[in-house]
Point group: C2
Chain length 416, copies 2
């Protein structure tokens, strides 16, 4: 498809220019874009109205329409996001691990932009601006493929940012929006290996699966979180209840929310009624195994599927485990590699859990809700990686860079 190839070629051209920019120039672009978003808020709101009207016509649910809808405040917060990214330190250019080899070669690892980043996302139009900001600050060109529901909003936001870049003498192709929202165009983007260095899908499990299954471009999987909290024997039950209430109910629809509890049988008799009462009070439906149900009659029966579910809703599952080993095995079987926590007073079990549970973030005595770039001190994030290659957990600017070996010689040739 010539259209995608064209976008790819333009992105690569822009990336070559971005690679050579200093942070001062990049920040000028970000701050210029922030100003422009606020100045042209009316244009963006007008475009967004079209999207919202079309979505209503199609019968989109109000919760989804809320995600799609922009307000003056939301546009200001997009602009704020651009300013915050401008304020982050620039990771590009640092040379680490420089060493001198016996033959006198000096070899170092220099942090450099990835090049061209592709983002495939769903209906939140703020991603258009947020993803651009992080990619641009790290020196990358970005190709954005948002959902068709938000196409008018995305076009308006992209046009404003591109205009601002151009005004600052920066390449406007640093941000390109795929205006063809067909599936074919998306699939083409997934196979654009000559131009795109990495694809990051942002959205629900279905979107992510489609991208993983169809891409030949390297993908960073993000997002899905079937997060567990394990309450160990001898744990502080009141701390456990506080943490579980927070991790389950503070925000229901997020990937770092707790979806499943595992409780040591020695703690279950005391813990299950206390924890269940706190969750029921907040309107959470609880599904558990036989032992859990024996301690609280309001717990309904859990099926095998419950243990594998990312509810993103006011539902939680409970399993009672005979030992920490069984708990770890259960978690490693059902988790999605996102965030897992143990509540314990045992030093040995804290270390064992952190060592043996296979996930991006493993907590002792804290809520899984902290898995987030901001909370981890990385600044804004482009997503939370649940795979093991390249980046794991919250991905900030550094995850949008790579390294290049730089070698300084004075005539060295290889003998052996």
């Amino acid at each position: 498809m010539q259209y995608m190839e064209k976008l790819g070629g333009q992105a690569k051209q822009a990336a070559r220019i971005l690679n050579c920019l200093g942070q001062k120039e990049k920040n000028k672009g970000l701050l210029g874009a922030a100003k422009a978003l606020e100045a042209k808020a009316e244009d963006i709101l007008a475009a967004n109205k079209k999207d919202v009207a079309e979505a209503r016509e199609k019968g989109m649910k109000e919760a989804l329409i809320d995600r799609l809808k922009l307000t003056k405040e939301r546009i200001c917060s997009m602009a704020d996001g651009l300013c915050q990214v401008a304020a982050l330190p620039d990771p590009v250019g640092e040379i680490t691990a420089m060493k001198v080899r016996p033959n006198g070669l000096q070899i170092g690892e220099k942090r450099v932009p990835l090049g061209v980043v592709g983002i495939i996302y769903e209906s939140r139009p703020n991603v258009t601006s947020d993803a651009f900001a992080l990619c641009f600050k790290a020196g990358n060109a970005v190709i954005l493929r948002g959902g068709s529901d938000a196409i008018h909003s995305n076009q308006a936001i992209a046009a404003v940012i591109r205009g601002a870049l151009s005004k600052e003498g920066l390449p406007e192709d640093a941000l390109q929006l795929v205006e063809d929202t067909s599936r074919e165009a998306a699939r083409e983007l997934m196979r654009l290996n000559s131009y795109v260095d990495v694809l990051i899908p942002r959205g629900g499990a279905g979107l992510i699966r489609t991208v993983v299954e169809n891409s030949t471009v390297p993908v960073i999987e993000t997002g899905t979180g079937n997060c567990h909290i394990y309450v160990d024997n001898g744990a502080d039950i009141s701390m456990a209840a506080d943490i579980i209430e927070n991790a389950k109910t503070q925000r229901l629809g997020v990937c770092n929310a707790c979806e499943s509890l595992v409780i040591h049988k020695g703690a279950a008799e005391e813990a299950v009624p206390v924890i269940a009462a706190r969750l029921l009070e907040k309107g959470v439906e609880i599904r558990g195994d036989e032992t859990a149900r024996s301690f609280c009659s309001e717990i309904t029966e859990a099926s095998e599927e419950d243990y594998g579910a990312e509810y993103l809703d006011a539902i939680i599952s409970i399993k009672v485990a005979d030992s920490i080993e069984e708990a770890i095995e259960h978690i490693n079987r059902y988790n999605t590699g996102h965030s897992e926590a143990i509540i314990t007073n045992s030093y040995e079990n804290a270390l064992k859990f952190q060592n043996e549970v296979d996930a991006a973030a493993v907590y002792v005595n804290a809520s899984t809700r902290f898995t987030d770039g901001e909370q981890f001190g990385l600044g804004a994030e482009i997503g939370i990686s649940t795979q093991k290659l390249h980046a794991r957990g919250p991905m900030g600017l550094k995850a949008l860079t790579t390294v290049k070996y730089v070698i300084f010689g004075n005539g060295q040739i290889r003998k052996g």
Copy 2:
């Protein structure tokens, strides 16, 4: 296919055990395997004889048979390789970037094994032992899918290593060989996402392309090297000739060999005859553009395809460029992201080239032949990554690990 699922499940089980081993236990496994290889050399040689005889019957070229063939010395050198990997420092377990957040959470990044590594390779049976050693030392289980030509040799080597692991009380499924060498089994391995964390293809460009195009498991692309050397205006021509001779002719069939020269027009009149004479003397065929040919009548005409070719043979292409900018553009257009060098006396141009050329290793005044784990001081390598995600350039033990955020709290919950 149940067979591959079974291997996957067993690998995952073994990986859980390896994840908890200290370096002492891992080294015992490696040294035990080294001893066993030497002790059972006769069995391995007998199996290898079968492969070689079958290959001859099928009419395999002698050069390829040489790659396939094992000798007592080659088995000793495989055993040496295992001992060398045992001597490398263990990357696993280090916690870096530990910080305390304002709410008291302590967050650090802990280096951990990837889990299960899949390697798809061609006919060299030594890969069976070399790849196992690096994966095992980094705490990973490995699933090896070698070529059908080497199946008897690979089976014998795998059996010896598995036996040695078992004798040391270590999980033998840390190494599993795919005994079904059909394409279907290989494709199944490429889609075994629930069990395999990364796939590394080792072999020719065709194999690598097949793996990239068919895998849903994350892949690290390795190997292909269309490496350039650019001779700048004012460069030391004698240094350039030495480096080019080394990079082209020291070993012809390797990925870090130089396949193409770019020469600044200001240097061409002096440089082309000198460099051409050196290469012709070594039996290298030279294909060049019109300007290059005007300085040496033995240079034949280069086609567009020549500039994109990884010859792996005694052929080189030459292009004369009007400027360093044109040279960099040419290199960025045709290179494969492996190794590129500039020969220059200009400080500005050295930095410009290193900054703007997009490759895993960018050299100033040295031979591209140094791109190699051993030469870079990483110890043995599992391959040379030519992609940008996760690892770039020579991949040692660290490239076979990932990180996990470990978070130590005392009851923190998220408020905002």
